[in-house]
């Protein structure tokens, strides 16, 4: 094991130096009696596999046990003593957390992590604020990936034909098979998702080099293959550029959910947010238009949202290219164009705004049609975006998949010509259309080796499963963006007998080596030569491990110049009567199903629909009423034409305002094998209903409805028929009323829209920074003297609604930090979700028929005149002298009066003893936070354990508590840096400055509960009073 170097200010600032002197810690070590390197760095978790019991041993143990039991029963009561380490591991202080830098492998975006580890077990993942890609944020998927480490259903040994085996046996069998294939020169295929790790790629290449016909096939189930293919056409290099949203002043997104799920959402959100910073001297506000058919997280944030059927994107892009080219004084790439699918003035506006901000404008397209992407490149080229907002010199490696390659491979497999298929990081039987056929073809392949950590649709068909380690147990690296080399270091000894992919490959290549050595060697030869500053390798390596990343010279093909490719308008097939266009989309947190085994992610409400534990058919209210479908009615979606059994799925309907009327949208990633485990989630009682569906799984797999043809994986546009089945399935929704206004027929005169959120437009804000204010309720003289004086600190929080995208990373961060239980689908349906932090999402109908969306994070407001505190009969909720509203779980008797009396409804009650899945999962619990029992109330504590920790640390160092030393879990994870927390009594603190911002307001201020959490007015970059949106024409 290598140097466990940390990051952050808590770590030993002295870096280990490369030195000839040998320091010894004990005489034994000096004399060579013990080898310090051989001592385990982390506590091993016994797997139970290698325990041997002999007859003698059994008798000894039985005798000892009998005597021990007899003796111990003589004492009056068992005395439990905590036993200290006999040999105290270096740098481990019981009760104090260590922090290690690492790299997230939740998806291929490669965000930087800081792993919080307590007593040898990682308990929380945080964003690495210095990281060049993610810049401090961490999304919900990344946050939740820690639970996968403590997953008892992970394979803990290799399997052969479905039976457990040992690594030695597996290696022998695989080596002999491989030798045979090598000898017969038969084809070998290595199928992976995008691998950004140079070491892993090199190891795979080295492994494959020994075969005569070997190929590494990469595909991404959420494919951006068309972006790479388009750049191959227009720039001569198949690469994914790095989009610099931070440099963009005008952004036009076409079906690209870049804030939610597209390629690298944390990175893009950070960039997007830095382009939309208001207040102080730094007033920047980019303009963002989104063209899409369903309501995405990104569209919900857009200043201008255009609703368009998927088939019409091409025509709109062509018009945009045409207009931009004309503004640039160039020839239009098109001779004749059909009328635009939106008002021509809208196209003009978009084109003019893009052109006006040329070199600082950006068009991104999420479609997987190469033609559209070529158009997009042409527009960006005309705008001068390449070199400005699009970086080709330091491109991104976050998506490398090629749909053409996987299509070829599937063809080979169907012909039965592949001798060995190795599958890592993907689950093609589940993820690809035609998965059932693929399952049949896989049976024809003599040797299928899967590296999956679970038995999934693909690995259950593999002859050998050689389970890869969880990334928190692994040594690895990543290069998400050219020149940004990231390190993944193990933070716990492996749980179970798994082996890293590169170790397996090294073993099969005839040179077995631990991953650490493989990685160091690879860095010595591949990364170290690219160093920017001259320094010895040891220092270079230690710095990289300590920081979690190192910046080196980009090793990418130099940026090519634009070569105009033939741009054509992708033909828009007119929709047949009675059909809807199918849109398959990755859902925030669930993505392509990689989160499907994680109960946190299942219970995370979708940021837009607020639905948990299911996928569903999103229909616009108009489309639903045309089909006579109400929310929760099960509909059958049939792919038009020759419909086989696999090309129809039945899903409950979900009414989605702001969606195109001709579209039905379905989330991918559901119905995965392994979700049967969630049958056990949630309390079991008389009227409990199961979390899983009738087929025993959570949701339905929509991937069979996609299509893979002509080198492109297509998720949208297929014409489908939607038929009502007459059955119902209530969706588990956390928010059942979706408007900030009360229902019209119940609204009191003038009181329909509640003043909960302030919003305004940029021009109004420029004129008056307090624009949009509902009027501050000036503090009147109170009848009673203040109960609280706050002599020391006064913790307050401010949330910038302009920055917040609603991505819900904070919700999971809070759940992990505060041991919030998972309650299951039925409990959510009964409005009993336990999240301390929620995001309220409100729609507003606009005059032009469009829909505006507001996202408002809502958590305990820590009121000064807290209505919960006065009503508790047993003083279980009290006010701290630093302004925190504290819940005393041990004292709570559970009258729920506090929750009734809370105007923000942020209190959560333990209706049952909500069980964790098993004891292994208990290891993820934060020991600083009490696990609440049944019958007590709980709520946001403003991460009081972090406040205490920071205070103790400051006191230990004899320094004053600096602003920013305390970061709440939600604040830390926020990719948009929307949350500011600090001491309002310190006039220099950031939170104190924001409290004086004219945009600052409090929710329900008129109640005079004096909340400590404030919000900053939501500013939209659109003309004052302008509707600003449009709906496409059919």
């Amino acid at each position: 094991m290598g140097t466990p170097a940390g990051a952050g200010d808590r770590m030993d600032p002295v870096m280990p130096k490369h030195d000839e002197k040998h320091y010894w810690k004990s005489l034994e070590e000096r004399d060579g009696a013990i080898d310090p390197a051989a001592l385990p760095e982390f506590l091993a978790v016994p797997s139970g596999a290698d325990w041997r019991t002999t007859r003698r041993g059994f008798l000894v143990a039985a005798g000892f046990g009998l005597a021990g039991t007899a003796l111990s029963s003589c004492s009056r009561a068992p005395v439990e003593r905590a036993i200290p380490f006999l040999l105290q591991p270096e740098a481990v202080t019981p009760g104090r957390a260590s922090f290690y830098a690492s790299t997230c492998a939740g998806c291929s975006a490669g965000c930087g992590l800081i792993v919080k580890s307590r007593d040898g077990r990682p308990i929380k993942l945080e964003g690495n604020p210095d990281h060049p890609v993610s810049r401090g944020g961490l999304c919900a998927v990344g946050q939740a990936s820690i639970l996968g480490l403590y997953d008892s259903q992970r394979l803990d040994a290799p399997t052969r034909e479905g039976r457990r085996t040992s690594w030695d046996e597996a290696d022998r069998a695989i080596l002999s098979s491989l030798a045979e294939i090598r000898q017969q020169r038969r084809p070998v295929r290595f199928l992976t998702s995008t691998i950004t790790s140079p070491t892993t790629r090199a190891t795979i290449d080295a492994f494959l080099a020994s075969f005569a016909d070997a190929r590494h096939v990469t595909y991404d189930s959420l494919s951006a293959s068309a972006v790479l293919d388009a750049h191959e056409r227009t720039h001569g290099a198949r690469l994914l550029p790095r989009y610099r949203f931070d440099r963009a002043e005008v952004i036009v997104g076409v079906d690209a959910d870049f804030l939610g799920t597209w390629i690298s959402p944390v990175e893009y959100t950070a960039g997007y947010r830095s382009g939309r910073t208001l207040g102080d001297a730094l007033a920047r506000m980019s303009f963002h238009a989104q063209i899409e058919s369903r309501m995405s997280l990104t569209g919900a944030k857009a200043d201008l949202r255009v609703v368009l059927a998927p088939a019409q994107y091409g025509l709109l892009m062509a018009h945009l290219a045409d207009r931009v080219a004309r503004l640039a004084g160039a020839n239009s790439p098109f001779e004749l164009l059909a009328a635009p699918p939106v008002a021509p003035a809208l196209v003009d506006t978009l084109a003019e705004r893009l052109w006006h901000a040329r070199e600082k404008s950006l068009v991104v397209c999420g479609s997987n049609e190469v033609g559209l992407q070529v158009l997009c490149n042409a527009i960006n080229h005309t705008l001068g975006a390449y070199g400005g907002t699009i970086d080709l010199d330091r491109p991104s490696f976050q998506q490398q998949g090629s749909d053409r390659q996987i299509e070829e491979l599937l063809g080979d497999l169907s012909k039965g010509s592949v001798a060995a298929l190795l599958v890592a990081g993907v689950n093609p039987v589940y993820e690809l259309p035609g998965g059932e056929a693929l399952a049949q073809h896989l049976k024809k392949v003599p040797l299928v080796i899967s590296f999956s950590s679970h038995l999934d649709e693909t690995s259950s068909l593999a002859r050998f499963v050689c389970p890869d380690r969880h990334y928190l147990e692994s040594w690895a690296d990543a290069e998400p963006v050219a020149g940004a080399l990231c390190v993944t270091q193990p933070v716990i000894g492996p749980i179970g007998g798994t082996r890293q992919l590169i170790e397996s490959l090294a073993a099969w290549s005839g040179a077995p080596k631990p991953a650490y050595e493989l990685l160091r060697e690879s860095w010595m030869t591949r990364v170290y030569p690219r160093r920017l500053a001259d320094q010895p390798f040891e220092a270079f390596w230690d710095r990289a491990v300590h920081d979690g990343f190192v910046e080196v010279a980009a090793n990418a093909p130099a940026g090519r110049t634009f070569a105009a490719a033939a741009a054509s308008v992708p033909a828009a097939a007119p929709a047949a009567a009675g059909t809807l266009a199918l849109v398959l989309y990755p859902k925030v947190a669930m993505l392509d199903g990689r989160g499907a085994l994680n109960p946190w992610l299942h219970e995370l409400p979708d940021p837009i629909t607020k639905t948990t534990w299911d996928n569903y058919a999103c229909l616009s209210p108009a489309a639903a009423s045309a089909l006579h479908v109400a929310e929760g009615d099960i509909v059958r979606i049939e792919v038009g034409g020759g419909s086989g059994p696999s090309s129809a799925i039945e899903l409950p309907a979900c009414l989605q305002p702001g969606q195109h009327d001709g579209v039905v949208a379905v989330a991918l990633g559901y119905g995965r094998m392994g979700t049967e485990r969630f049958a056990k989630v949630g309390p079991r009682w008389l009227e409990a209903r199961p979390t899983v569906g009738d087929d025993g799984r959570v949701g339905k797999n929509a991937a069979p409805l996609a299509s893979l043809s002509d080198g492109a994986l297509r998720y949208s546009g297929a014409p489908v028929r939607v038929v009502k089945t007459g059955r119902r399935r209530d969706l588990a929704v956390t928010q059942s009323h979706h408007y900030i206004a009360v229902p019209a027929h119940l609204a009191p005169a003038g009181g329909a829209r509640r003043p909960i959120v302030q919003e305004t437009t940029l021009p109004a804000y420029v004129k008056d920074p307090a624009a949009g204010s509902h009027g501050h309720h000036e503090a009147k003289e109170d009848l009673w003297p203040s109960d609280h004086s706050y002599p020391g600190r006064r913790w307050k929080m401010v949330i910038d609604l302009t920055a917040c995208t609603g991505c819900s990373a904070c919700v999971i961060a809070c759940q992990v930090e505060n041991n919030v239980p998972v309650v299951g689908r039925d409990e959510v349906r009964r409005h009993r979700e336990m999240h301390w932090m929620r995001i309220d999402r409100y729609y507003a109908d606009r005059a032009d028929g469009g829909v505006d969306v507001i996202q408002q994070p809502m958590l305990c407001q820590h009121c000064e005149n807290a209505s919960c505190e006065t009503v508790c009969p047993v003083l279980a909720t009290v006010h701290s002298e630093e302004g925190l509203n504290q819940q005393v779980y041990n004292r709570c008797v559970g009258t729920r009066y506090c929750a009734n009396n809370c105007p923000y409804k942020v209190r959560r009650f333990n209706w049952f003893d909500y069980p964790r899945e098993d004891r292994l999962q208990h290891l993820v619990l934060n020991p600083d936070v009490v696990v609440r029992s049944r019958g007590v109330m709980e709520k946001c504590s403003m991460c009081v354990q972090r406040i205490q920790d920071a205070k103790v640390e400051a006191k230990r160092q004899g320094l004053p508590l600096s602003d920013g030393a305390v970061q709440t879990a939600c604040q830390q994870s926020c990719p948009a840096k929307a949350i500011t927390f600090g001491d309002a009594n310190d006039p220099e603190s950031r939170v104190a400055r924001l409290l004086k911002d004219p945009r600052h307001f409090r929710v329900l201020e008129e109640l005079n509960v004096k909340p400590s959490v404030g919000y900053l007015t939501l500013i939209r970059n659109r003309a004052e009073g302008e509707g600003g949106g449009a709906t496409g024409h059919e």
Partner: protein, 457 residues
């Protein structure tokens, strides 16, 4: 009072009963074997009570989650039932204490049963605050007991704590008042029993009552004092219960009208329950001469009066909501009348405001069947009043994001039924083992001997 005055005033007790007959009539149900009707009623009530016991045991073993309550609607059936039963428990003390002080002599025929009803209703009520707690085994933490858990104390600012004191006091005084009133009758029963354990029990509980002048003197002094104490409690208990809602922040709860409105509502529901029970009792226990149409009529008038006050309170709430210009408050009331729980609201209005107006007609007031049906309506309506008040105010409060619906589970329905089972079990046992009419007090108002001895007062 002269002889002709007696003949002018209609007698409270009909049938020209002699004093001995009064004793015989009232003691008859205690001394005979229980009738098949009693057994049938008792078995049903006891079975329903056991159902409730099962439901509550299951709920305490499993969790409050077995109820339909949720993060938004934190109280529903539990507190509805609590306030309902507390309201029922108001008639007894009102009849015993206030009417005693007001020298309403008709009260003598119904006060014993009404007081018993009060006690059983308060028992039923007191169960709900206990079982609605998440951790009922720590319920004693709401008592200001000196303890060894550091400086832990109760929160005197919490209306729930006021409830603890109010209900505790009310229950104590009600029991003492009822028991003191029972003393002369317990002695009468004692004296009618020849020998055996029953006699010894009654002898013990009659506290050596010997009917002497001194005994009667002490008795009447104590009874008067307790009546004066009880009078204050009639007003205080429900006022304080109403503060659970009135002092909160929830629109629809935060209303200053609640104390008088709740007291009127409590008397309204209590009287209705007394009517329901008495109409059955006089028939099945052959007490028609003691509980006469006149009694029924007077109580019907009280129901009419308090029902009208309740109706006025409903109207006032709407007016104040409109007048306040508070959109949250306004919305709650519009939502009550026309929102998802409109059905409950209109049941409440029909039963509580419209139905009792029929009591303006003497023909309705003196028709036992009509009074019985209307009293049932009022009972139903008053249960729904509390349901509407609690659930419709909570389910859609300030932030529309947290709005939620509510539906009871089978466990909650069984618990509600069980509370009725408990109530009727207790009441049937009371009918069987104690004199349901205050013998000694009734004897003071019988007309029989007045002519002979120039009686009356």
């Amino acid at each position: 009072m002269s002889e002709h005055a007696v003949s002018l005033r209609a007698p409270l007790i009909t049938g020209d009963k002699s004093i001995a007959q009064v004793t015989d009539d009232v003691c008859a149900p205690m001394e005979g074997r229980p009738t098949a009707l009693w057994w049938g009623a008792f078995i049903v009530a006891f079975a329903v009570m056991l159902l409730g016991v099962a439901a509550v045991s299951y709920q305490i073993a499993t969790g409050i989650g077995t109820w339909g309550v949720n993060r938004t609607v934190g109280w529903a059936f539990d507190i509805t039932n609590f306030v309902f039963w507390i309201g029922i428990g108001h008639a007894g003390t009102l009849i015993s204490a206030i009417l005693f002080l007001l020298r309403q002599r008709w009260r003598t025929s119904v006060n014993r049963a009404a007081e018993a009803m009060t006690i059983f209703a308060v028992i039923c009520a007191a169960i709900f605050p206990l079982i609605h707690m998440g951790r009922p085994w720590f319920a004693y933490w709401v008592l200001p007991l000196p303890n060894t858990r550091g400086s832990l104390w109760v929160n005197f600012r919490s209306p729930l704590l006021w409830d603890v004191f109010a209900i505790g006091t009310y229950f104590t005084i009600s029991v003492v008042f009822w028991y003191v009133g029972l003393l002369p009758d317990l002695a009468t029963v004692r004296d009618r029993i020849k020998e055996g354990a029953r006699r010894r029990i009654f002898a013990f509980f009659s506290l050596g009552w010997n009917g002497s002048y001194r005994t009667w003197h002490h008795y009447e002094a104590v009874y008067l004092l307790l009546a004066a104490l009880g009078t204050a409690l009639v007003v205080s208990v429900h006022s304080i219960v109403s503060m659970d809602f009135a002092t909160s922040l929830v629109p629809g709860w935060h209303t200053t009208i609640f104390p008088p409105y709740f007291v009127a509502g409590a008397i309204f529901s209590g009287m209705a329950m007394v009517l329901t029970l008495m109409i059955i009792a006089r028939k099945t226990m052959r007490l028609e001469n003691y509980i006469t149409i006149r009694h029924v009529e007077i109580m019907a008038k009280l129901v009419l009066t308090t029902g009208s006050i309740v109706g006025l309170a409903y109207a006032t709430e709407f007016f104040i909501a409109a007048y306040s210009n508070n959109p949250y408050e306004q919305f709650v009331f519009i939502n009550r009348a026309f929102g998802p729980f409109a059905w409950a609201y209109w049941i409440m209005v029909s039963c509580n405001v419209i139905a009792p107006q029929l009591f303006w007609f003497k023909r309705v007031r003196t028709n036992l069947a009509a009074v019985f049906v209307l009293s049932l309506f009022v009972n139903v309506g008053m249960w729904f009043e509390r349901f509407v008040l609690i659930v419709t105010s909570l389910h859609r409060d300030y932030l529309p994001s947290s709005w939620a619906d509510y539906a009871p589970t089978s466990v909650e329905l069984a618990t509600l039924a069980g509370s009725f089972g408990l109530f009727f079990t207790c009441f049937l046992l009371f009918c069987r083992f104690l004199p349901v009419i205050a013998i000694s007090e009734v004897k003071a108002v019988v007309a029989h001997d007045r002519r002979t001895f120039g009686g009356g007062r």
